[in-house]
């Protein structure tokens, strides 16, 4: 029964794809799209009463069958998908209505969005290494084509870079799946767990798999594809990519954390996660492009999720994934109406003055991403902080301050500039969706973590203080230097360099593992 959660979106995406050969009205296509999005939700709501549930397809045994399951961890991933996707679908109907039809028709984008939806749901339910790989590939491919279908300048280059790096990491992931299959004899995680003997080969395989997943999740130092791909896509697509698509590799990491042993890797993962957090914040603070600022915050926030994995807290990771999916998609959707009415992504031109609900929503979502209680971000962050002590705990506090600093800057710029674009009349649905997401971040936050921590006020104060100092010193006007030109030549050099970085991280971690083993 739970397989219908996956089958329905795929069925409707197929139906939508064949409608391009028939001359039927747009309204029918939109109906098919919305049916595909909403059809699995009642089923999901029926099933969440008695978790965990699972089944092996076709009544086979685990050894020869394909297992799918929903448990307390997958639940949060699925809940995020089933909340964010329908809201983005409603938003995108209104958004694409107002935009001029580009070279790629909106129906093809809807078809790809359904494909992304189905494969994400499947990824979050799988218990099998190979199905995980296949659905991750479908999800990434749909995402890549969606990025490439945008008419924004540079979207094609971003899509190509994403494609090459995704393929590279995919092949390495499959390579590591091969090693795991040889060592354990199975691809099902339950069976792998039963026959698991952690030796050097298996450790190396897990290292290669993790580096590939870090690349796919856009975590520093393998984040290169993310900021461009997420900022150049159409706004609803950006929300899906930053909110949901990058969570699929995280689910893979959690499967490894649960069914195999990754204790030997926690040290390097924690170092990588803190680098990712602070690099993301550092780059975000200097951005003048609103969507790129949000994209760099995805790099930073994915670092926090990796931090939860490095302290081996599977539930904290799942909770923070849920939180991040809500507020990051909300933030992308919130800047969408501002961008379309000004016709620019530059923060100096965008403004939210005179748009009551949007001001409220953006401020609430900014506080949520900063981890202010009782909003949704505080819950996962609190769980992570329970596992940390000493320097790492203070670094986590610094994360909150840095994120708040960057979002104070965003809010300040949005408030400062007056803007000259006219407000489009048909932005009502967009605003309602954004406001609804903001309300959800409050209500889920209060439901899961109904406390108020006074220290959060101090964090906001420090962030505002630092922003004032930086503004007075004119530090924020500094341009981050570009190392590569924005053309084909620059693109090829980038791919050369990024492949080297990928191989280098693999080699470094493998050397680390081998050395630990000999000691």
């Amino acid at each position: 029964m739970i397989t219908l959660l996956v089958a329905l979106p795929f069925l409707f995406s197929f139906l939508l794809s064949i409608t391009t050969y028939f001359d039927i009205g747009r309204i029918y296509r939109k109906t098919i799209f919305l049916t595909g999005i909403f059809a699995p939700i009642p089923l999901f709501l029926l099933k969440i009463e008695n978790l965990p549930i699972g089944t092996v397809l076709g009544g086979w045994t685990r050894i020869s069958g394909i297992e799918v399951a929903i448990d307390q961890v997958g639940f949060f991933f699925l809940l995020a998908t089933f909340i964010v996707f329908p809201l983005v679908a409603i938003y995108s109907l209104s958004y694409f209505e107002g935009e001029e039809e580009g070279k790629v028709s909106n129906e093809s984008k809807f078809f790809l969005m359904l494909l992304l939806y189905g494969s994400l749901v499947a990824t979050f339910m799988t218990r099998d290494l190979f199905n995980f790989t296949v659905f991750l590939e479908i999800a990434s491919l749909a995402a890549i084509i969606l990025v490439g279908s945008s008419d924004t300048e540079g979207a094609k280059l971003a899509s190509f870079r994403y494609l090459m790096l995704y393929l590279l990491s995919s092949f390495f992931f499959i390579f590591s799946v091969g090693i795991i299959y040889v060592k354990t004899g199975y691809l099902n995680f339950h069976l792998i767990e039963q026959t698991l003997v952690m030796d050097t080969e298996l450790k190396v395989a897990i290292v290669i798999a993790f580096v590939a997943l870090i690349m796919k999740a856009g975590i520093f130092p393998l984040h290169f594809w993310l900021p461009d791909a997420h900022s150049k896509a159409d706004t609803p697509v950006s929300a899906l990519l930053s909110g949901l698509s990058v969570k699929a590799p995280v689910f893979g990491m959690l499967l490894f954390l649960r069914y195999t042993s990754i204790e030997f890797l926690t040290g390097p993962l924690m170092i990588i996660s803190f680098f990712s957090i602070f690099f993301g914040i550092f780059m975000a603070v200097f951005q003048t492009n609103a969507k790129k600022l949000l994209a760099y915050h995805t790099v930073s926030q994915m670092g926090i999720i990796l931090l939860a994995i490095s302290v081996l807290d599977i539930y904290a990771a799942a909770h923070y994934v849920f939180a991040h999916a809500l507020f990051k998609s909300g933030l992308f959707l919130a800047v969408g109406p501002l961008i379309s009415s000004e016709g620019s992504r530059n923060l100096n031109k965008l403004t939210y003055r005179g748009r009551g609900s949007l001001i409220g929503a953006i401020i609430i979502l900014s506080l949520a991403i900063g981890g202010i209680s009782p909003l949704i971000g505080a819950f996962g962050k609190h769980e992570i902080s329970m596992r940390l002590n000493g320097l790492s705990l203070y670094l986590l506090y610094a994360t909150s301050i840095g994120t708040l600093l960057s979002f104070s800057k965003l809010n300040f710029e949005l408030f400062k500039s007056s803007g000259n674009g006219s407000e489009r009349i048909d932005q009502r649905i967009e605003k309602m969706v954004v406001f609804f997401i903001a309300l959800l971040t409050i209500s889920f936050g209060i439901y899961y973590y109904p406390k108020f921590k006074p220290i959060d006020v101090l964090f906001i104060g420090i962030a505002l203080g630092i922003l004032t100092i930086l503004k007075l010193l004119h530090v924020l006007e500094w341009d981050v230097p570009r190392f590569y030109r924005r053309d084909v030549d620059g693109l090829t050099k980038q791919i050369n360099f990024y492949t080297m970085a990928f191989v280098l991280l693999n080699i470094l971690l493998i050397i680390f593992v081998l050395k630990i083993y000999q000691l």
Partner: protein
């Protein structure tokens, strides 16, 4: 010469790994989009060869009749999926290159 490196023992998985390394080398130094797509397409059969080679049992039959000793069918079936995805992805990458060149060079020259 290859035999001297591998000690006279060159099987499918090792060949696969060598192909992966060749592809990686190309991806690190080639300054042309088409070349880079080809390099990815060298890594891909490397992975397929490596994976299929894992299931190989010397002297065994194709897994059609369960009574005889057979090679492991799972790697081969899984690699079929990878190959299919690969074909589609390559065509998409090439289409994307055409679009990129069109944007950069105007697209009127042939």
């Amino acid at each position: 010469m290859i035999e001297s490196i591998t000690g006279g023992y060159l099987n499918a998985p090792i060949t696969g790994v060598i192909l992966i390394l060749i592809g990686l080398y190309g991806l690190m130094i080639k300054r042309d989009l088409i070349h880079q797509v080809i390099c990815i397409n060298i890594i891909s059969p490397g992975v397929v060869l490596y994976f299929t080679g894992l299931g190989y049992v010397s002297g065994a039959e194709a897994p059609l009749f369960p009574n005889t000793e057979v090679v492991d069918p799972i790697p081969a079936t899984l690699m079929l999926t990878t190959l299919v995805i690969d074909v589609a992805v390559t065509s998409f990458a090439l289409a994307l290159i055409i679009k990129i060149e069109e944007i950069q060079f105007g697209g009127d020259e042939d």
